[in-house]
């Protein structure tokens, strides 16, 4: 009996000793680190107000401009109107890359990414001939929809995903003989695609006004939390970049067999520009636009300054190598293999840093299941 009380007093004593010694440590050693001050709500507010909400508003404008250019192309199909259309199309598509990583909340509810720029998902075997995978465009379904004139674009299936959004518009605008093939039926389908693009963008942009307060007030890091979503999206977008965007069309999963038509934005021939914009936007997400309030700053506040600078330089290395690939990617996959390979390697390094070191340091969970904590 006495020994139990001895144990108890020992326990209490050692804890209090520790308290004291650590307090001392803190005063002498760690004073320079400003960890106490990191404000997660300020971080999330920065993301919502400076990156996400303005990003969707900009996209609304760009999609409206695309609609205008699209109408001009439809009313007088020519190389000139097609050229002007290309500018508007590229601008809107690039703007989408700037919000692509915000696939949570309103965008997730609306399935924005699937309807606007379907990547085919990661859990799908890319390496299948004839099957619609990655950034394929389902030209057969599109042509069938055009000639029948009756179709639905709102059904959440792979078939409808692959028949709309930027990739499908790219086919209708810039595919073979796009100018000469344009008739009233094609025009009608183009219109329904741009209308849908507009409606989806408006919806997500509008819903963010209400969602903003939910977003900035939740500073947890579990699955489905804003911070969890941001970190998981960084990793997910890197997976998409390494897989469907670059690696898989390059033949990394298929013994070098290239799938040129499965490049993102194949018909517009702007795959590299899109990928570079996507990756640059991820860097911007990571730093919250160098505002001093981003995930990068959170890492610095957690005494992970070295990791942070490594991540930043790896971002730069990957963006550099990626930019060195000439567009169209569909040709570079066979003519510029060294450049593509170099970019692929840097992407993999960045992916590793984000998925292991950054995810670990921020204690973000990736699955809903119970865990023993490792």
């Amino acid at each position: 009996m006495r020994s139990f009380f001895l144990l108890l007093s020992f326990a209490i004593l050692s804890v209090s000793c520790l308290f004291l010694s650590c307090n001392k440590d803190k005063k002498t050693g760690d004073n320079n680190n400003n960890t106490n001050g990191f404000d997660k709500t300020a971080m999330l507010t920065q993301y919502a107000d400076q990156l996400i909400i303005p990003g969707y508003q900009k996209m609304q404008e760009q999609v409206s401009a695309l609609q205008t250019a699209s109408e001009a192309f439809i009313s007088t199909p020519s190389a000139t109107t097609q050229n002007e259309l290309k500018t508007a199309f590229t601008a809107a598509y690039l703007q989408y890359q700037r919000v692509a990583a915000f696939q949570f909340g309103p965008a997730e509810t609306a399935l924005l990414d699937a309807y606007v720029n379907y990547s085919g998902g990661l859990d799908y075997n890319f390496n299948t001939d004839g099957e619609l995978t990655g950034f394929s465009v389902d030209t057969a379904t599109i042509e069938a929809n055009i000639s029948s004139g009756s179709y639905t674009l709102t059904e959440p299936t792979r078939k409808t995903f692959y028949a709309q959004g930027f990739p499908a518009l790219g086919y209708l605008y810039f595919g073979d003989n796009a100018v000469t093939r344009l008739d009233s039926k094609r025009a009608a389908y183009i219109r329904s695609l741009t209308d849908r693009l507009k409606a989806l963008t408006d919806k997500v942009s509008g819903d963010w006004n209400a969602y903003r307060s939910t977003f900035i007030s939740n500073t947890q890091t579990n699955v489905g939390s804003p911070i969890g979503n941001l970190v998981n999206q960084l990793a997910y977008q890197m997976d998409i970049l390494k897989g469907p965007r670059i690696g898989w069309p390059f033949g990394k999963q298929s013994n070098g067999v290239v799938f040129a038509t499965k490049c993102e934005g194949y018909y517009a021939g702007i795959s590299v520009a899109l990928a570079v914009e996507n990756l640059s936007s991820l860097r911007k997400l990571y730093t919250a636009g160098n505002s001093g309030k981003g995930l990068s700053d959170y890492l610095v506040a957690l005494n992970q300054g070295t990791l942070n600078s490594d991540v930043l330089s790896q971002f730069d290395a990957a963006i550099g190598k990626l930019s060195a690939i000439p567009d169209p990617l569909s040709q570079s996959l066979t003519t510029q293999t060294a450049a593509v390979d170099a970019a692929y390697k840097e992407i993999q390094k960045l992916l590793t840093l984000l998925k292991t070191d950054v995810a670990s340091a921020t204690a973000v969970q990736i699955t809903f299941m119970d865990n023993d904590g490792d």
Partner: protein, 444 residues
């Protein structure tokens, strides 16, 4: 608690009041029932046992497979009914057997779902089969009053207490490592993610809080069972149990049912009088005046089995000592050792399949594994090897002759930077699955 006197045969078979066993049966069954409903409600039956294309199996149990169709749902249904029957004490023995078998079967299907408290439940469920927990205040007694007993051998309660003690004590031993005690890692990593908590949230960036959590956790785990076991300190110790696990549930909700299981099962340490008081508040409870004693035949055999079991329970968590290398890095002897919330580890894996002509293609893990499976596989060597063998077989069927499997794996452990985990030049397809040290894992 481990003194030789208390494990002698007379001590183990000394009759004691049955009440602790009865309330344990009721509480355990109810808790299991709720856990099963929760698992079901969250859609995990499908997500974990039906949807995955591939399952990681335990060494020697690769023949365990999930049932097709609605089979798994039926298994969970049986398990839930069995848990309820335990609580009611209705067809108790069959219910205990059914619960043990269904629960253990489900846990054996996929290693990536391993949790220490699932292992604990399997062990307790096994003992429940042999315990006379239905001999009072049960439907079995209601229907056959002749079954009723007021006294049971001391070991029937002692074995559950022992099991609780093992969980706590080894969880405490496991925390006695430099990272946990001297660097407060992983608490230092995990706590800054908890600033959203009311009142305490703003302290979560403080280093001393991480040390406080680490040391308090270690001391609690190491000593709580002794205070629980001592009659005079039991009520105070139990207050600690409730506070401690309420805190863990609040801080680390990802840990699931573990805190609740510990809070409920720790009641077994209360003396019989406390349990009788609790039971007397329940409807239809009648205290029997006439003492009747439940006795086992073959006491000698039971005594031997108990001693062997106790020995095994003390040795299994220490088996990691037989392996060279860093335990957290290699994870050889890591499971079944009560290592809960002990480290922060994550990995990124890139697998390559190479044919006999040296042509190499990369594997898309997401095409074969769920995110949970991929996450768990990427840091555990034995799972990496299983997956590599699965890939070799899959690509062989796809027409790759003599496929060789290589992997580039980066792992970050306890806040250190990620580094190469295994030898990328080793053909994993040719490495045997065994319990021996895996030499292809790079040293920490």
């Amino acid at each position: 608690m481990f003194s030789s006197g208390s494990i002698s045969r007379p001590a183990l078979f000394k009759p004691v009041p049955i009440a602790p066993l009865v309330s344990f049966r009721i509480a355990f069954g109810l808790l299991m029932f709720l856990s099963i409903l929760r698992f079901w409600y969250r859609g995990w039956v499908s997500a974990v046992y039906i949807l995955p294309r591939f399952h990681f199996t335990y060494f020697g149990f690769s023949w365990i497979r999930p049932l097709p169709g609605i089979g798994m749902h039926l298994v969970f249904c049986c398990m839930a009914i069995a848990a309820l029957c335990l609580t009611l004490g209705w067809m108790y023995r069959s219910a205990a057997v059914l619960f043990f078998l269904t629960f253990t079967y489900v846990e054996l299907i996929d290693v990536t779902t391993y949790l220490n408290h699932y292992y604990f439940i399997s062990l307790v469920a096994f003992w429940m089969i042999w315990l006379p927990a239905n001999r009072s205040y049960s439907l079995d007694v209601w229907f056959r009053p002749g079954l009723k007993k007021t006294m049971v051998p001391a070991w029937t309660i002692g074995i559950i207490r022992f099991q609780m003690g093992v969980v706590y004590f080894f969880a405490g031993i496991a925390k006695l490592n430099p990272d946990w005690m001297l660097h407060a890692i992983p608490m230092k990593i995990w706590l800054p993610a908890k600033t959203h908590l009311p009142l305490v949230g703003r302290f979560m960036y403080e280093t001393w809080v991480a040390y406080l959590f680490s040391w308090f956790g270690a001391i609690y785990d190491l000593f709580i069972v002794f205070f629980l076991w001592n009659k005079r300190t039991t009520p105070y110790a139990y207050c600690f149990v409730v506070l401690f696990h309420a805190a863990t549930a609040l801080f680390f909700p990802g840990i699931g049912m573990f805190p609740y299981i510990m809070i409920v099962c720790s009641t077994i340490f209360f003396p019989a009088t406390a349990h009788e008081r609790f039971l007397s508040k329940l409807p239809f409870y009648k205290k029997e005046e006439q003492p009747t004693i439940f006795r086992y035949q073959k006491e000698k055999l039971i005594h031997k089995i108990l001693l062997i079991y106790v020995l095994l329970q003390l040795l299994i968590p220490m088996r990691y000592l037989l392996y060279p290398g860093h335990l957290f890095w290699h994870e050889e002897g890591y499971r079944f050792s009560w290592r809960v919330m002990l480290m922060e580890k994550s990995g990124a894996t890139f697998f390559y399949v190479q044919d006999r002509n040296g042509h190499r293609q990369e594997v898309n893990n997401a095409a074969f594994l769920t995110p949970l499976q991929e996450k768990m596989m990427s840091t555990q060597p034995d799972l990496i090897l299983q997956y590599a063998h699965f890939l070799a077989e899959t690509y062989r069927q796809r027409g790759v002759e003599h496929p060789e499997v290589y992997a580039q794996i980066y792992v970050a452990l306890n806040g250190a930077r990620s580094r190469l985990f295994i030898d990328s030049a080793v053909n994993l397809a040719a490495q045997p699955v065994s319990l021996q040290h895996y030499k292809w894992v790079l040293p920490y």
